[in-house]
Amino acid sequence: MKRARVSDLAIIVESFFQAAVAGILVGCIYGLMCCGLSLIFGIMRVINFAQGEFLMLGMYFAFYLVTGFGLVAFLGPIYGPFLAALLAGPVLFVFGYLLHQYLVGRVTGVNVIGAEAEGHYAQLILTLGLSLVLANGGLILFGSVPQVIRTPLSSTAWLIGPLLGDYVEIFINQARAYSALVSILVAVGLFQFMARSSLGKSLLAAADNPEAASYMGIDVDRAHRLAFAIGTGITAVAGGLVATYYPFQPYVGIDFVIIMYAGVVLGGIGSVAGAFLGGFVIGVVQQVSTMVLPIQLQNTAIFVVFLIVVMFRPHGLFGRSAERT
């Protein structure tokens, strides 16, 4: 009898740790995708509804690179998918750059200085349309069958334990673990670029005060384009990583775009590192909430936490005010 009660408790403890570990891993990947949106929305203040579709394009790009171009054969099934995800970065960077140059740039940056609501209305409509075009175009090109990038790591796990005297064992899914690791590395690279390089800081300066930035010799239009392109590429890398454990189809963007916005606002608008942590918190909340809530409600849990945080910290978890008080 006593023995039974201990094992009940052990099951709860075990599933909590299991959910927490899963949350930490997907949290890192969510963190990376939030970093991408943070450059576009958090820093450059461009409303982009198509960010979820950028993620989707990253997924399909990585998928076709692995299945169609034999990256698996070349690098082996273990490293191939992760390299494919990384390669989605530069390719979608170019895509984002061109998209900004010919389309999005017309309703952002120097073109909307002084416009009503800083061009947000036009951005809303344009990127909503873009999102539909990309998702529907994806349906025609890629079909509606859910895909996943198969790697042997998806179905292998490390076993931690037994802990707490034989009762608790935790599995760490290897595909998620490697994806989380790659996410952290890419995010750290991005933080270094933003915080250390003159080019990275010039993006912040161009967003902060475009007029003064141009007096410093910073090409504000190009800064916007660069931020948009980097933001697209970063989210695409995250997409490629998600694709190793999450089945996707052309409409997958909607599952993630809300998570990204919530993460960016939760972390504090204007801070790339904050966005990573915002995404991380959301990953943890989402996974841990599955312990107590039915799976359909896991996104509800995210928003309850979101509302609580924003109630107490209107600038987000890591936002700081640059105005004198």
């Binding site: 003159s198 800081k201 010039s202 912040l204 300066a205 902060d208 005060n209 007029e211 003064a212 930035a213 141009s214 007096y215 410093m216 010799g217 910073i218 090409d219 504000v220 204007g270 700081r320 640059a322 105005e323 004198r324």
Partner: protein
């Protein structure tokens, strides 16, 4: 060094500058004075490229400035310290200076310039990690000037650096401007409302009124002009 000929600017139908001629020679200290709305800031913005003229020519060291976009002009060695300071509020003091040094010359001379800046404005050294938006008004003005200096400019353009500052701070700032003119050999183009102090430091001055150059000449010429006396000096 800077030559402006027949420059006219209009906002919509409203004429802000009408056929303005102005010249600044290498090593000079030139002041522009004039009442509110005279077009002083508009003139500076047109030189820097954030406002486009309807007519006229601007050349800087023989280069046609109007053929270049705003961001390219800063790379020629001119620094614009804008009206109302316009520091990068969300960046630290040090990052603001580093953005001032974004041009190639600024990067090349970064160590030397930074040392000189901290000598002129020691308070910025104390506050180097503070967000610029949280500095006091006087400190922000010092930062705005320092940010201009960080680019190793030949021509420093200052738009009302005394705006909203206490007289003692204003004096300190004017003294630093004179110092960079005399000791570092920078050419200065200064817009000011505090006419007495501004004219006192300069070689030559221009009086701008409703978009036209109403008067120009030496310090003595301007100071002895009845219009200047009446409007600014209360005499």
């Amino acid at each position: 060094m800077l030559r402006i000929e027949g420059l006219s600017v209009a906002y919509g139908g409203l004429k802000a500058l009408v056929e303005v001629d102005l010249e600044v020679s290498e090593g000079e200290f030139v002041t522009i004075v004039g009442p509110n709305g005279a077009g002083k800031t508009t003139l500076f913005k047109t030189i820097s490229g954030t406002v486009a003229p309807v007519a006229g020519r601007i050349s800087y060291r023989g280069q046609d400035l109007l053929a270049l976009p705003a961001a390219a002009r800063a790379h020629l060695g001119m620094a614009h310290v804008p009206e109302g300071r316009q520091v990068f509020k969300t960046l630290s003091v040090d990052d603001n200076l580093q953005m001032g040094a974004y041009v190639a010359a600024g990067r090349r001379d970064w160590v030397r310039n930074r040392k000189r800046i901290m000598e002129l404005f020691p308070v910025l050294d104390e506050r180097r990690d503070q967000l610029a938006g949280t500095l006091s008004g006087g400190e922000q003005q010092m930062l705005a000037i320092a940010r201009g200096l960080a680019g190793s400019p030949h021509l420093l353009m200052l738009d009302e650096p005394s705006m909203g500052l206490a007289p003692t701070i204003t004096d300190a700032i004017f003294e630093r401007i004179r110092a960079v003119h005399k000791e570092d050999g920078l050419t200065i183009l200064l817009v000011e409302q505090r006419v007495a102090e501004a004219l006192e430091s300069c070689d030559r001055g221009y009086l701008l009124d409703t978009g036209r150059v109403a008067l120009h000449g030496s310090y003595e010429t301007l100071l002895s002009d009845a219009r200047v006396k009446k409007a600014y000096l209360g005499m």
